[in-house]
Amino acid sequence: MTMFAPLAGIWMPSPQDLRLFGAELSLVAAIVALLVLSMLFGRSERLGAGVALAAAVAVIFFCRDAAGLVDTGARAALTPPGAASMLVADRFTVFFKLLLALFLATIIWLWMTGAAAGRTGGEVRPVPAGPEFFVLLLTSMLGMSLMVATPNLLVMMIAVETASLPSYMLAASDRRSRAGAEAALKYVLFGATTAAVMAYGLSLLFGLFGTLDLPAIAAAVSVKGMPALGWIAMAAFLVGVAFKISAVPLHFWCPDVFEGAPVEVATWLSVASKAAGLGLLLRIVAAFGGDVPATIALPLAWGVGLVAAATCTLGNLAALRQESVKRMLAYSSIAHAGYMMMAAAIPPAAAGDATVRPAMAAIVSYLFVYLLMNLGAFGVTAMVAWSQGSDRLAAFTGLGRRAPWLAVPMSICLFSLVGLPPLAGFAAKWWLLAALGQGADRHSWLWWLVFVAVINTAVSLYYYVRVIRQMFLADDERLERLAVPVGGLALANGCAVLLLLLGTVAFGLMRDRSLAYAACLARAAPESVVAAQDRLAWNGGPEGMVVNGADRP
């Protein structure tokens, strides 16, 4: 076209590139649409929820599309030829986006339930209000889905901020709550501090290696080695990632925010934020596999392992003495992040080695199961908190009688969080430990991590069972039955049923480890994700991260 003649010399991304990132684009489109629509039709919350739901559906659709494209070998970098790639589209990112989209949909479900409860019941139910809430939710999702999709440190940092900044505001989204204000204050101060340290680390890494492209940095490291400054810079950069995962010693924000923030937001952060952080960590750790000498890969793995052990131990110990169930779940989420980090600590082996992939798959399946367990537990806690006005342990008294359809799924979710056998939580944990054990064939120190994980599981039994005991064994006749919105019942029971189903299926497949996770996901996830873990693309593999857009069609 003559119109664009002045632009002829400028590079433009190809339509296929854009199609591969349709999920992100639809998120951005939803954000803009939300603003325009609320300008046209007034500030309706239901409109916001609708648009966000539509965005979630669009993301799922585009993920299926992208998965198909990725299967046929399509790759995108969104940079002009010759420049290092800024984004990658592989099965791993597609899976993460799918996970986030499903989760987003359930969060909106939870929100609708809460809004309905607030409208019908006489209780004062703080509803995070306005289309802004959904704008922020979608933006944080955009940041999270980009966190796992980039091999570039700069984009990683910006994506982390894009995920964090809206989250800070979401935590304060109930403006009448003092706890929310305080939680947001702590969250933002913590986050800003870690982000600044991360930026400093990034600047040093840029100076040391002359690039911000992760594979290029790994290549430079394997040639030149890692100086002391490099370790400092790496540690400073990982501080920002550890903040997202809420790894010890950067976990302080987590319980406060989960307690103070509205429950939808707490649920969202408990899974999505950690999942994205873990994906980012995996990408970094995995980049230092392959040709990187063991003198560099091993200390990194050791560090991650130590932090993981400390994270799950501290999380579990702190959860023991909590009276607030939300806070207890917050510490439990710290502990679970620790479990998942353990798999990231398995030192990546040479390209094509079988050790890494079970670890990746373990984390991926753990995340999926964890999403269900956490959603159920937080959902029930939300119902109780909404009708009782408190989320202390005392509010759960006699729930088995007062609302059996909440108490039973809650118990299933909690047992699954412990990791008891017939449930999906057990299968997830089993694969995690199995992956660790497989890695321990080569690095025997990994047995220590297995040991720590098992001990911690035993410890965690105590505080989960405390809630169950309060629900079924303690009762007070004076307490009346709970009025629970139907949507909430559906959510909690849906989670529980899925957990049971998954657990049963997985249990049957437990004998063959290598098959188990595949089969598990095959039934759990939509068809396009079936082979997600089979095709997990890591550096060095045949479908590894694309550098320089070399094999773009």
């Binding site: 603003l35 002009p80 704008v135 955009l142 700069l154 900044l165 809206p166 100086p227 400054l229």
Partner: protein, 204 residues
């Protein structure tokens, strides 16, 4: 003494002064007395601006009033903008002034004004904290400087660095850095909306 006499004496003195003149102006050039003050302008500017930035940074730590801290931050920002000019990053210097000093800092000062009970409000650290802070800070600084100093920065330098132009930077932002560029624009949009929503008075 007549006027013309006086004038001639003055002229003689001037000529004598000129002949005596400053040693470095006289030449001959090359290795010799003219070279011993081989200070480049860049070095002097660096020490002035860097010194200002460092003093302001230390002032930020030591000051107990928030407004003073903001003022020190302003000094540091300005000095860093000057350093960008020294580093041939003209555009960045201008952006630093517009966005950082003219935008971010105004927001911060705005926040201080709205959130402090009185102009004289002070927040003092406890002595133990001060001591611990100083020790940790100095240790950290020493560690960082040692680590930085142990690296031979001269290796692997590409060809003579050319000063990037505004044009080049603009092109890079829309090609190589397209993804971060668009991402940060979405981020700014969301932040603008969210901040206005959060700080608003709560009316619907």
């Amino acid at each position: 003494m007549t006027g013309s006499n006086r004038l001639s004496i003055v002229a003689a003195v001037l000529v004598w002064l000129a002949r005596a003149g400053p040693v470095w102006a006289r030449g001959p050039r090359g290795p010799g007395p003219a070279d011993w003050i081989g200070i480049e302008l860049e070095a002097v500017m660096f020490y002035l601006l860097g010194g200002l930035a460092a003093v302001c940074a230390v002032g930020c730590v030591l000051s107990s009033r928030v407004v003073r801290m903001a003022l020190f931050l302003f000094g540091a920002l300005g000095a860093v903008a000057g350093l960008y000019l020294l580093l041939h990053a003209n555009f960045l210097a201008a952006i630093q002034l517009i966005v950082y000093a003219g935008g971010t800092l105004v927001v911060i000062i705005f926040g201080i004004m709205l959130s402090s009970a009185s102009a004289a409000a002070r927040y003092r650290a406890r002595p133990a904290e001060k001591a611990a802070g100083a020790a940790v800070g100095l240790l950290l600084l020493a560690g960082l400087v040692t680590a930085v100093g142990r690296i031979d920065w001269s290796e692997g330098i590409a060809a003579a660095p050319s000063a990037p132009t505004v044009d080049g930077l603009g092109r890079a932002l829309l090609t190589t850095y397209l993804v971060p560029f668009e991402l940060s624009s979405v981020l700014l949009l969301a932040v603008m909306i969210g901040a206005a929503w959060l700080a608003g008075s709560g009316r619907k």
